[in-house]
C-alpha cells in the first residue's frame, strides 16, 4: 500500500537500476540486475515511492524507531518490466482503464524489490521483500531436463492494477534485526503460510521468538541463531521440525544396502520434500575460509533441476547471494560449488544438516521412511530390474504429498481399480515410493505419513494396467 504522500513514478532504463538513488550497488543488487533478471528480458523499472512494507514497518516499530539515528518508516518499491512499458503507458492506464494495455503491463511485469531506508555496514541500501518471476519448468536447449521450483502466488497491487507473480519471496540480511538463519526462516515462512496457514513474521519478530531459547550471544543486533533456536522458532508457530544429518544417513546404512544406493541421499531428501509438496528445506552450511575457523551459514533450498530424477543443480535463496541462486556439485551435493567460491576468500562449502519445518500431523519422519524405502524399493530394484525386462531408466523416487494433490493426480491418470481407489479414504499426508522411468509410470506404494511407523504401505496404485 502507498502512503498518503504523493507517489511519484518515473520509468527508468534498466542500466540505471544500480545507481545509488535506486537499488544501490551491493553484491545482491548486482546479482539481481546483472545476472538474474536479464534472461527474463528486463528492460525498464520504475520506483513506487513512500511504499509501506509490512515487514519493514514492524522492524521499524520494534527496532529502528527506538534508535537515536533518524530512520524513515517508508520504503521504495522498484518494479521491473520486460518489453517496452513506457511512462505514458502507466499514466494512460491510471487515467483511463484499457484492457489491452492492462494485458500488456500484466504480461511484461517481472516483479518487485523493496529497498529499505536503512543501510548495511558498508553504507549501502538493504534490499527487503523481493518477489521476482522465476524460471520455467522447461529448460531451453535441454528437452529432457525439468526444473521444480518452490513458488507461490503473490498478488501485487500497483496503484490499483492487480498483478501476479508466482515465486518464493526473498530478502537479504539485515544484521541489526536478524542474521542468515533469521532470514532463512522468513523466506520459509512465506511458503509455510501458503501450505499450513501459519502466521507470517517480520525479521525482528522471528529473532524475538527464536531467542526465547537463550544463547550466550546478544539478542539484538543479532549475531546469528543456532539450530535449536531455529527449532524453537518453528515450535512457536505450532510446527514440528525434521533434523536430517545426510552424512550420518550415508554412513550408517543397513547391512544389505550397497554404498552406491545411498550416495545420493541428499538428492533423495530434496526430492522427497520439494518434488510434489514444494516444502522449503533449510540447509545449514559449513564454509571454510582460506584463513581462520569454519563459518556456518543458513540458506533455503528453493528448487532443483533434474533429468529423469537425477539432480543436476539445486537453486537456493541465499541472503548473501540472491534468490534462486544456482548450486552444482561433484559429490552428490555433499560439497557445493556456488558463488561463495568465487574469488579467493573461501575454499569449500559443505552441507552440514538439513532442517525441514513440518505440520505436526506429518509424523512419519524422512529418516523412518528412508530406511524402509532403501530396503524395500531402491536397493531391491537394482537387483531385480535386469531380469524383469523393465526399462533401464526406471527408478524409485520417494516423496511427500497430500491427499488433495495425490487424488487429483490419480484422477488424471489411468490406474487399476480407479473408482475404488479414488473413493477410498486416504490419510491427509502421504509418503509415496513411485517406480517410474523417463516415459512410463509403473506403480506407487502409498504410506500413511500421519502414522508413527512405516512398516507396510497403506495402499498401492498400478498405472496403465488393464481394468479387471
Amino acid at each position: 500500500m502507498a502512503a498518503n504522500n504523493e507517489a511519484h513514478s518515473i520509468v527508468y532504463p534498466i542500466k540505471d537500476a544500480l545507481n545509488q538513488e535506486h537499488l544501490d550497488e551491493t553484491h545482491i543488487s548486482k546479482y539481481i540486475i546483472n545476472e538474474y533478471l536479464p534472461p527474463f528480458g528486463v528492460q525498464s523499472f520504475f520506483k513506487e515511492e513512500n511504499y509501506v512494507d509490512k515487514d519493514y514497518l514492524i522492524d521499524y516499530a520494534k527496532f529502528y524507531s527506538r534508535s537515536f539515528e533518524k530512520y524513515d518508516k517508508f520504503t521504495e518499491r522498484v518494479h521491473f518490466f520486460k518489453g517496452n512499458v513506457s511512462e505514458e503507458d502507466l499514466t494512460r492506464i491510471l487515467t483511463r482503464y484499457d484492457e489491452e494495455l492492462y494485458e500488456k503491463i500484466f504480461e511484461s511485469y517481472l516483479g518487485f524489490v523493496v529497498v529499505k531506508p536503512v543501510k548495511n555496514s558498508r553504507n549501502h541500501k538493504i534490499i527487503g521483500r523481493t518477489v521476482l518471476k522465476t524460471y520455467d519448468e522447461a529448460v531451453e536447449g535441454h528437452p529432457l531436463q525439468k526444473r521444480i521450483m518452490i513458488k507461490q502466488k503473490n498478488s501485487i497491487n500497483l496503484f490499483g492494477l492487480q498483478l501476479e507473480i508466482d515465486a518464493l519471496p526473498f530478502q537479504t540480511q539485515d544484521k541489526s534485526v536478524g542474521a542468515c538463519a533469521t532470514t532463512a526462516c522468513w523466506i520459509s515462512l512465506n511458503k509455510l503460510a501458503d501450505l499450513f496457514e501459519t502466521p507470517k513474521s517480520s525479521l525482528v519478530e522471528i529473532t524475538e521468538k527464536s531467542i526465547s531459547f537463550p544463547s550466550e550471544n546478544r539478542n539484538f543486533p543479532s549475531p546469528g541463531l543456532n539450530y535449536l533456536q531455529i527449532k524453537n522458532f518453528y515450535n512457536t508457530l505450532g510446527l514440528d521440525t525434521d533434523f536430517i544429518d545426510p552424512v550420518s544417513l550415508k554412513t550408517s546404512r543397513l547391512k544389505e544396502i550397497p554404498e552406491n544406493v545411498v550416495e545420493d541421499v541428499i538428492e533423495d531428501i530434496i526430492k522427497a520434500y520439494i518434488k510434489e509438496f514444494n516444502l522449503p528445506v533449510l540447509a545449514g552450511l559449513k564454509i571454510i575460509p582460506k584463513d581462520g575457523e569454519p563459518l556456518y551459514h543458513a540458506v533455503i533450498i528453493s528448487g532443483y533441476r533434474h533429468e529423469n530424477g537425477k539432480i543436476i543443480k539445486i537453486y537456493i535463496h541465499d541472503d548473501q547471494i540472491g534468490l534462486y541462486s544456482r548450486v552444482t556439485s561433484e559429490d552428490h551435493f555433499f560439497s557445493w560449488i556456488d558463488s561463495w567460491l568465487d574469488g579467493s576468500k573461501f575454499t569449500s562449502v559443505t552441507l552440514d544438516k538439513l532442517v525441514v519445518p513440518l505440520y505436526p500431523k506429518i509424523r512419519l519422519s524422512f529418516k523412518s521412511m528412508y530406511f524402509v524405502y532403501l530396503v524395500q524399493y531402491k536397493a531391491k530394484l537394482e537387483d531385480k530390474k535386469a531380469k524383469n525386462g523393465i526399462d533401464a531408466t526406471a527408478k524409485y523416487e520417494l516423496f511427500l504429498t497430500d491427499v488433495k494433490k495425490y487424488k487429483k493426480f490419480l484422477l488424471d491418470h489411468q490406474i487399476s481399480n480407479k473408482i475404488e481407489k479414488l473413493k477410498k479414504p486416504f490419510p491427509k499426508y502421504l509418503w509415496i515410493a513411485r517406480l517410474e522411468s523417463a516415459d512410463t509410470l509403473y506403480w506407487d506404494y502409498v504410506y500413511d505419513a500421519t502414522a508413527a511407523h512405516a512398516i507396510k504401505p497403506y495402499e498401492n496404485i498400478v498405472y496403465n494396467s488393464p481394468e479387471p
Binding site: A179, C180, A181, S215, N217, P223, G224, L225, N226, Y227, L228, F243, I244, D245, S248, L249, S252, R253, L254, K255, G284, I287, L295, Y296, H297, A298, Q320, D352, K353, K367, S368, F371, V372, V375, Q376, Y377, K380, K384, K385, N388, G389, I390, L435, T440, Y442, W443, Y445, I455, K456, N460, V462, N464, S465, P466
Partner: protein
C-alpha cells in the same frame, strides 16, 4: 504401456512384506543414526 506378466512378477517382489528381522534392523539403525551432538546444535549461523 500395458502390464505384462514380467511386470506383475516384478511387482510381487515389492509387495512382499518386510521380515521381522529387517524391521528390527531398521528400528535399530533409526535409533542409532543421525543423532546430532549438542555442540553442533548450539553452533550459531553467523554469516
Amino acid at each position: 504401456m500395458g502390464f505384462d506378466q514380467k511386470l506383475y512378477d516384478l511387482k510381487n517382489e515389492f509387495d512382499a512384506p518386510l521380515s521381522d528381522e529387517l524391521i528390527d534392523e531398521i528400528e535399530f539403525i533409526e535409533q542409532t543414526s543421525g543423532n546430532i551432538s549438542v555442540v553442533e546444535l548450539l553452533r550459531p549461523f553467523t554469516i
